[in-house]
């Protein structure tokens, strides 16, 4: 799988996490790890460029909100465009994984 596909998977994970509510970057890594039962570890170095790219493309928007005592964090949330994108990506993912599974079964 090329880099683009990996990127696609990261995007899908981020969008999916954000679909459950606004979250900051650090929270996203934790949530992915937690939901995948510690199997998936987000490559933190590419998380932030990815978030900013999605923000640029209008899938997500960001707000600075207080987090804990006297601190603030940048919370990302899905836009309607992002929600649509998530649906597409999920469908796409199902198709690709389904296809891969078929190949694995018959090969």
């Amino acid at each position: 799988m090329g880099n683009d596909k990996l990127q696609g998977a990261l995007d899908l994970l981020i969008l999916k996490v954000l679909a459950r509510g606004p979250m900051h970057g650090y929270g996203i890594t934790n949530r992915v790890k937690q939901l995948s039962g510690d199997v998936l570890q987000v490559e933190e170095g590419s998380l932030y460029p990815g978030l900013h790219r999605m923000e640029r493309d209008g899938w997500i928007v960001a707000d600075w909100k207080p987090s804990g005592k006297n601190r603030r964090a940048k919370f990302y949330r899905l836009t309607p465009a992002g929600r649509k994108r998530l649906a597409e990506e999920e469908k796409n993912w199902d198709r690709v994984t389904g296809a891969v599974a078929k190949v694995l079964r018959f090969a």
């Binding site: 650090y26 933190e44 170095g45 932030y48 460029p49 900013h52 964090a73």
Partner: protein, 877 residues
Amino acid sequence: MRRLQSLFRRRNPDRELDEELRFHLEERTRENIAAGMSPEDARRAARLLLGNPALIKEDTRAVWTLAVLERFWQDLAYAVRSLAKSPGFTLAAVLTLALGIGANSAIFSVVNAVLLRPLPYPGSDRIAIVFLHSQRINRGALGSADFLALEQRQQSFDGVAAVSTFNNGLTLTGQGDPVAIPGSKVTGGFFSTLRVRPELGRTFLPGEDRPGHPLTVVVSHEFWEQFLHSDPAALGRSIALDGKDYTVIGVMPASFHFGPHDNDEMWPVLQLEDIHRRPPFWLFVIGRLKSGVGLRRADADVSRIAVQISEQYPLSGKTTGVVVPLKEVMVGDARMALLMLMGAVGLVLLIAIINVASLQLARASGRRHEMAIRAAIGAGRGRLISQSLTESILLGLLGGGLGLVLASAGLNALLALNRDAIPRANEIGLDARVLLFTAIIAVGAGIVFGLVPAFDAAAARPIESLQDSDRRTTPGSGSRLHQDLLVVGEFSLALVLLAGAGLLIRSLSRLESVNPGFHPEHILTAQLSLPQARYRTAEQLTSFYERLVERLEHTPGVDSAGISLSLPPNLLQLTNPFRREGEPIVPGRSLPLAEEIPVSADYFRALSVPLLRGRLFNEADRAPGTHVLLINQTMVRQYFPGSDPVGKRVQTGDQNPDSPWYTIVGVVGDVKYQGLGQQNMATMYVPYFDDGWSPWFVHSMYLVVRAHGDPTGVARAVRSGVWSLDDLLPVNKMRTMDQLLTLSTAAPRFRVLLFAQLAGLALILAIIGIYGVIAYGVGRRTHEIGVRMALGAGRREIFRLILGRGLALVMVGVAIGTAAALGLTRLLKSLLFDVSATDPGVFAAVAVVLVVVALCACYFPARRATRIDPLAALRHE
């Protein structure tokens, strides 16, 4: 909008990213500590997991910058494609803008060269001219006594130099035909004051301008090429100027210009005799202000000296001094005219912008469907605006590029037409500043006319537009209102420009119909400069002139011939104070001034100036000790009211009880010597052979010849008549009187020409504008008109409906424009002759012209509307 915001976001994105990453590290560290790590290990582990923060930041920033660039290229490609898709619109818009921007670039390059750019001498802002100021003359020349004192006693200048410019040039002999070369005699400090160096040889050495030293001359590059054949060995060679030998010591570079029209070709050394004199006042003085010395201090300094000298020569009149920056002197009246032109050309650009905006609006409503689709598929309002702006700015730049080509061609035509009407004309051209100016107005214009349709487009409501099945859907009433406002604005601006042009044209025609005081047809004029070396005595001079007039009057084709020191309409050489007999001598008092002109008796016949009383000069006046005068009507009216002046006596020159008395023998009609636009001034004519005159004054005289027919027909005969008496004498500046009259109004005619062209351009743009809007309106209302016709409206009513809308727009435009013009044309006041800045005739004519042409422009779309077939129009849906 969010994306647009992030483009121009004022928050600092770098700092936000820092904060974001810091938050991440701190949270991770905390978690690690909670999991039992030491704080140091916890921090290290967090860092390790995140990776190199600098790299992350770089990648994140790239996400945004790449996006901006990418979007820019996308927008540009989109703009190019959409402009290419409607070539008619693009061509019309680019041409309109090119005319508007080109006119601005051309006028700005003149303003830039004349007003903005410093003079081409190092540190030129420190160079000033010293004038004498008296009750009579605001900025006058200095006497030799003044200059010599100034040179010794002044404390404000690093150097001063006196310049004596010869209106008629210096006569160069010994190099083929004798020829007059424009030039100025200058004292030794001239070149060092200007801080200019020769390209060859040297300039003057200290003391070289003292009497008794050998005469030297510095020549221009052009002179060196033309007369010295670019020979470096020409240095040290001797040339004959006005009959004296001068050694060529240096050649100035081609870039060096000086003189009244920047056209001096040589600078012979001026050796002022140690005999200090005052009057005459004949020297212009340049100086380089010491650093830190302001104009006011320099004024005080030169005034102190001028007062000392006027006390030393009490009869020469009280004077003070005044110091004026050289640039201000050179630019003179041109400043006002240029600023006015700049304003006019700005209005033309506004009209051009309005026109393109209006075109854009019309096109935008055709593209509404496309815009709606783009909005529906997620293009944000900001993105639509930025695309629309990119397109407009691209149009602006295309127009600006073509405009520069037009400007450069226009400038050449302009300068070829009239170089003398513009000071510093040889410095005019397209330089970096002009390019920058053009770029700025091109982009600015693009933004201005782009914003109107941009907001119009962004306001598009996708749902409504998509629901409407008609692709050429009706725009909201807002957009139609926009278009109407644009047409009204256009006509207001055009009216202001037309009113200005109308006033200037009227002023010029008044000026040209001024009675100059003589009959100009059939007159040939020329100028003679008798070299002082060969014509030393008064006897030699008068005998030459006498024989010349005699010979010319016996030439076939010549009716009469005369000579004069000054020529109408604007070549006055001398004014002189006078005192009537019986008036007391009061030291320090300023006497009245009159034009004083040595002439021959037949001068009046040659010009056809009427003798009103008494007699002209005759042979008896030649008797030694006889001094007679003719005066003009104005002098009678102002100084001899209610009495017969013939037989009365006056003294001329400054108050001196010993000067000779002149008897008035006759009165002649008024003649204009200071320009057609000026009031008549008192004039005294003396016979050229009068022995009370220094022969110095009559060395250089104008020849006036009245021919029976075409004056150019006797030109050859006049030349050979002169050469039969002296074959070393150049016959300069041969012109007909009609040519002189035309030349004298060259500057106002030039202004009229430019202004009228701008007004014409504005008118054409306004016509195109109203035609476009009305024609577009008819196209858009086809359905409505069809319905009206189906319901029984006649063709005449439809015609009136369409024409009425055009007329209403124009009327409002004319009303607003008239109000604005009434305020603005006051600025033209100083350029108008004998016409009020609010001349009702001009304003009425301009309003009528605008209404008539607008109706013509609306006629065709209105007629088209009457030919609409109601059935076809209703099916059109």
